[in-house]
Amino acid sequence: MTDGPPDHTGTPAPPTPMRRRARLRTRRALVGLVAVTACAAVGAHFAVQYVRASRAHARAHEALDRRAFSEAATHTEKYREHRPTSAEGYLLLVRIARRSGDEAAAQAHLAEYERQHPNDPARDRERRFLLAQRGDASEVNALVNEALAKEEAADPLAVEAAIIGGIRLLQADFAVARSRPRGIGAELLARLQRGTNLWLNTRPHMADQVEGLVWRGQLRALANDLAGIDDFRHALALDPNHKTARLQLASAIINIAPQEALAHLEHARRHGPTDPALALALARAYQGLGRPDEARPLLNEVLAAQPNNTEAITELATVAVDTGQYAEAERLLVRAIALAPDQPRPLFVLASCLRAAGRPTEARGYQERFERLVERLHTPATPRPR
């Protein structure tokens, strides 16, 4: 590097003081420029990061509002790429998992959230919602009461969690009592129905309307109100791809119009992913309509995916009994009993199977085991409530 132009001999001339100053200024300017550029680049980087995070956050919320849970999850992941430890990110993770029904994941996210942000009030709210949604009676009651007190100013997430948990609670009671709710249960049912109407009146988005109709249908079904079937039909008309609406409709009409229920189950199977629970429901519908030959391959399919599914094993055994294949039925039922010794049904079906096979003494043994088990479990094998 030279400081000045070369003279005719090739030796550079010594720089003049003026030149030297100019050169110094240039150097300073260059350094400054580089510094400014670097700062601008860093600033731009952070600005981009900020914009991206904000946008992801907004989109996650927007998707969540539309009940597009997987889309919301994608946006939340993007948000968390930029804000990996933000409380808002954890909140979104918990909320998406909870509202999409993956409560185990919601619980896991909530635990991490609590670890990272132990004093965040939003976390406590989510914890209440999760508890309620899982069917905690006191949280369900508290949330639904709060919501009804605030009416249209109620937090929709609280209403949603209370309704989902309340339905779960009442359905569990129904499974035991086999009758529509009475007493406290009837009061809760009435409040949940009011909560659902509140939801339907305040959440105009179509996805929320569909969900509200499905909830109202379930609550009406619990109240023995056939109008619940209309709710499921309405929900399904709004969103023909709503699997829950279709399956709830099938379930609501299986005892009234079993053939139509079967058609819905067949539709769900044709248009949805392979699902052992759906295959089992469909198999039961076929079996219920006297079509064991169609039930059998479905049950085998369930058992290929879930070899220890005792309900499927027992159902397959029932098909075998009905078609006179007693040895096969016995083999299946012995396995079901080994897998689930506390389930009464395999014992009862095995007693029927052995009786049909001409082995009354052994049948009596299983029948007695069934009766003892039913008595121990206090299941409603004794008087059917009406």
Partner: protein
Amino acid sequence: MSDTRTPSRWPVRVLVVTLIGGAAALGWWTTASAPTEPEVPAAFRPAPKAPAAPAGPDAPSWFRNVTPNSGLAFTYRTGAEAGHAALLESLGGGVALLDFDGDGRLDVFLAGGGHFAGPDRKQITGHPCKLFRNLGDFQFEDATARVGLDKFDWWYTHGTAVADYDHDGWPDLLVTGFGRVALFHNEPDGTGGRKFTDVSDALGLRVDSWSTSAGWADLNGDGFPDLYVCRYADWSFDNHPTCPPQSPDRGARDICPPSLFKPVPHAVFQNNKGASFTRWAELEARAKGHGLGVLTVDVNDDGRPDVYVANDTDNNLLFLNRGGRFDEVGLAAGVAADEGGRPNGSMGIDAADFDGTGRPSIWVTNFQNELHALYRNLGNGAFLHHTRTAGIGILGQHLVGFGTAFVDGDGDGWEDLFFVNGHVYYTLPDEMRLQRPVVLRNVERQGRRQFVAAGTRGEPFFQAPTLGRGLAIGDLDNDGRPDAVVVHSNAPVVVLRNVASEHTPANWFGVKLIGKDERDLIGTTVVLETGTRTLTRFAKGGGSYLSANDPRLLFGLGGETKVARVTVKWSWGKVETWENLKPGAYWELREGDPTARRVAPPKK
């Protein structure tokens, strides 16, 4: 060319490139991550057609309502107008088909029900029962007064059963209800007619609690019919809790479930050769449950009548007759509960060989949210809950079934099913409370006998929801086709004429059995062979719900034109055969008489 760039310019260029690149990248990123097109809202998508509900076969109905202008106008009353919502009101009434005057035509006896009188409307009082004489051609006249049945101070009645308890050759009448039963002896009126005389007290036949269905059969093998009377629950106005309505907007209270009341042990009577009745304590000790239906029939082909009892919310009972000693084997035989081992709310009963095995399978109508039960008789003392396999699950579980019968409605030789329905609760929406009657046709599918909806076209009766209770099947016009009488709660009785022959002609063969000394026949089995088919029918007592069917046995023969052999396995063990009988008539088969006698049609 030399490099003209001066070192002082490159940072500027770097900055410019950085800013431009950054902006471009930002723009690209913004564009690339823009939300995709929103989905078309589902509301605006064409909705797929909902799967259509299965339409019933559009075949003409086998039965036609001929009640109008028949002269048979009667309504069973429950007393609902008092507003008590008493359990008593839920049961309804029955009907008996019996030829009380021996003219060869089945007459119709109807229980009247009751109401609540007195200042507080708690005095349980009966409405009169009625006897309608069959004049032929589906014309009836009220013969109640003529036979003396108008003179009774009727109690709140439910059921009826028919047998010749004293072997005088005439059918006698038992009536059940709240607070008493009565046995009416059919005897000459002194003017060439018949009359009924209450002989209950004289014969020691007393049941002072709440009785429902009853069934006769010679249970101890002495030739005289013994009596099984179902009893229901310990309800009374002293034990009348208020139960909440099913739908709060439809009333303040409703009928209480039977499980709130204790069952009352059933009453079983030994018939002392028509001279008196004695309580059968040994059998009564095990005859428990909220009893609503009873059927006497030989289920295990040992020639003796067994007893099957339908209990509401308790296990059903099967008493196998071991020669006057009885073993209760309901659970062990697989006929006590449903396919999950739960006792059902059972009401109506019948038994028949629906699958051509020669064995009687048992059919039970049950409450809502339960399957009606078809217990298939496997022949080794075992039954299998066969409802779903027989395709009956297609009906769903919304029906509360009462009166029922196996009936070969189309005369093809296969026993079809008929049952009437109607809820017991008041505060349900009408679409749940009132229910249609059901006829199921016995067909073959994939090598199995299954039941499918029979045609109902052209007959409004099968489209109109009602509160069905009693049902009796019998050939009211002696044309070889089974007709029916249906009793409703608080709505008129309906007479249904079988008109299947108008579109499905079929041959038929009728049997009237007569044992020596008018011995009771229940438990007898009749096997008919045509040469290509074998059909089996059973002489049964009780059955249906609170009702009594035609005692004669009918065989639909479809296209078969001859009857090669008829074998009667009398309930006392004797087996006799008759050969080469002509179809198209009722034949009288007398024990010990090798000659079958064609029964002459009734005089016009």
